[in-house]
């Protein structure tokens, strides 16, 4: 009969009326966040950073500003530059994570938070001091060593620079160590 399908539609909406809502009331309840989530504030370990500026070069938008001056002794990697500026212009960042992918010393991580709203644009530039003082809850994005540790940002404790470990991908380590820019076909690299 005509109208039967319409009645079926009414039934569908009625069953949904009885269901528990799918949405959550945000500030009180939160949906589960996955460890790879590319969050807003970056996690940066000064002790690991050599000031090589690979991240700045690899960022598609060029929003990382690094100013260094020579010489200071770094605890892990031997000599390194003295970092004067390490600014990330968060208001233009698209959270692609390529800077993290490029960092050869595992000093830069994506963050896991997402509540970085500010009233002024200038407040959105993360300065080196903020990076130093921030809670270290790195995302496991592009850091398989954190994933194998079963690290869950937010619920696990913050990680110090000794805890985050080095990325274990053989080819990537080799690649990063040399920072080769040449290399035309896959067979050579394999």
């Amino acid at each position: 009969m005509y109208g039967l399908e319409m009645a079926k539609g009414l039934l569908v909406t009625l069953t949904n009326l009885m269901r528990k809502p799918f949405t959550v009331a945000y500030p009180e309840q939160r949906v589960r966040q996955h460890p790879r989530f590319r969050g807003e504030e970056f996690t940066w370990y000064e002790e690991r950073c050599t000031g090589c500026a690979s991240c700045a070069k690899y960022c598609p938008l060029g929003i990382i500003k690094i100013v260094t001056s020579p010489s200071e002794t770094a605890p892990l990697q031997g000599d390194k530059y003295l970092l004067e500026t390490f600014d990330i212009e968060l208001q233009r960042c698209m959270f692609c994570g390529l800077c993290v992918e490029a960092c050869p010393y595992d000093a830069l991580f994506m963050g896991s938070g997402f509540e970085e709203g500010q009233y002024r644009r200038t407040d959105l530039v993360i300065s080196i001091d903020r990076l130093r003082q921030a809670d270290k809850n790195p995302s496991t994005w592009f850091r398989p060593q954190l994933e194998s540790m079963d690290y869950r940002p937010g619920t696990s404790r913050p990680l110090g620079w000794r805890d985050v470990g080095r990325e274990g991908w053989r080819w990537h380590q080799r690649e990063k160590a040399g920072m080769r820019l040449q290399g035309r076909n896959a067979e050579d690299d394999a």
């Binding site: 399908e5 079926k8 909406t13 996955h34 590319r38 598609p60 390529l98 896959a186």
Partner: protein, 368 residues
């Protein structure tokens, strides 16, 4: 007594609730009937093709996310296929399956949006849209698990995907597939045979196959007109030659057929996803490539995929540098818009919105 009447020109868009972003059409109405149509594009132009010339091959992946932001996985895939052709490399099998799987999930998500908004434009007060978004949200959750982002995924890289799926991805995917069966059945109950939807869309704005081909339309819009044309079957890429699926074909190419083809494609995508899960085998998910790639000078490549909206192609020319010399994007939404006049003229104001919705354009891709 005669009453003087005259046609009335209305600017529909760029600020209109249902022109899918900032699309603008100047429409001349005679009463409620459409007599003249003039689409005006370019409100969302961001110069993607030019930007691509300034970035290296991996960085461009982030630009492709922002073309058709409802199906970024498929954009990634098309671009990566083009770069792989350019470099003459082939991703490992596991990466191929992962790409196929995520692209199909993305196709489901994109079609869900298309169907939801199509019914929304028919006037349903948000309910079907909410139901489709509920399911889409689950897919985006899976993407977040895979690559840390929901919309702008940047998941694929030339030579594979950026990393293998985490361990908890597979049970979550199974869970989703099981739940989605029920949600899809519910959606079909609500919509597929609804009488109001039928009278609104059956026989409205039909697109004959010859017109569709002449306008070089592609994707569900073409298939709804009864043309069997699907790049996943014609020229299989990634793992599509390993999986078995059907291509739904419409008959008259009216609004209902375009809607129906999308709903059926969701079912077929589900089949593909299931087969991918069965067939995928352990192994590397990414080729060992340098961070900064270079192609041979003068190399050219055209990578195409069957995106959720039609044929999406990236044409790359290399001059031997670290970024392409030219990057041309064939975006399905733009070319599908060439049928606007055929669809709209002679129909009513209310049908106009629905017909535009049935083409399923995405302004991010139209204006690039």
């Amino acid at each position: 007594m005669t009453i003087r009447t005259e046609p009335m020109t209305v600017n529909v868009g760029p600020q209109h609730p249902s022109t899918h972003g900032v699309f603008r059409v100047r429409i001349t109405f005679d009463g409620e009937d459409i007599v003249e149509v003039e689409p005006v594009l370019g409100y969302l132009h961001r110069g993607t093709e030019k930007l691509a010339e300034e970035r290296n091959y991996v960085q461009i992946v982030t630009l492709t996310d922002r073309l058709d932001y409802t199906s970024s996985m498929i954009n990634n895939q098309a671009y990566c296929l083009a770069v792989e052709q350019l470099l003459g490399i082939e991703p490992p099998p596991r990466a191929k399956y992962l790409r196929t799987l995520t692209a199909e999930l993305q196709r489901i998500a994109s079609h869900l949006i298309a169907v939801g908004f199509f019914v929304q434009e028919l006037g349903a007060f948000g309910t079907p849209l909410m139901y489709t978004f509920r399911s889409r949200e689950r897919i985006l959750d899976l993407f977040e698990m895979l690559c840390g982002a929901r919309i702008t995924v940047s998941y694929m890289r030339p030579g594979g995907v950026f990393a293998d799926a985490p361990d908890d991805f597979w049970p979550a995917l199974d869970q989703f597939l099981n739940d989605f069966e029920g949600e899809l059945a519910e959606l079909e109950d609500l919509l597929l045979n609804n009488e109001i939807l039928m009278v609104r869309t059956r026989g409205v704005s039909p697109l004959p196959p010859d017109v569709a081909i002449n306008c070089s339309v592609s994707g569900p819009v073409l298939r709804a007109s009864g043309v069997n044309w699907d790049w996943r079957k014609m020229a299989p890429y990634d793992a599509y030659d390993q999986v078995d699926f059907d291509v739904p074909i419409g008959s008259s190419g009216d609004n209902y057929d375009r809607f129906w083809v999308r709903v059926q494609e969701v079912r077929q995508s589900l089949r593909i996803v299931r087969q991918c899960i069965e067939q995928i085998e352990p192994g590397p998910a990414r080729l060992e490539l340098p961070l900064v790639l270079r192609a041979a000078p003068g190399a050219e490549a055209y990578g195409r995929v069957e995106a959720s909206k039609g044929e999406l192609g990236f044409f790359l020319v290399s001059d031997g540098g670290i970024s392409p010399y030219r990057c041309k994007i064939r975006s399905p939404s733009l070319i599908n818009l060439t049928i606007t006049e055929h669809l709209l003229i002679g129909w009513k104001l209310a049908d106009m919105i629905v017909s535009l919705g049935s083409v399923d354009i995405n302004m991010g891709e139209v204006d690039r």
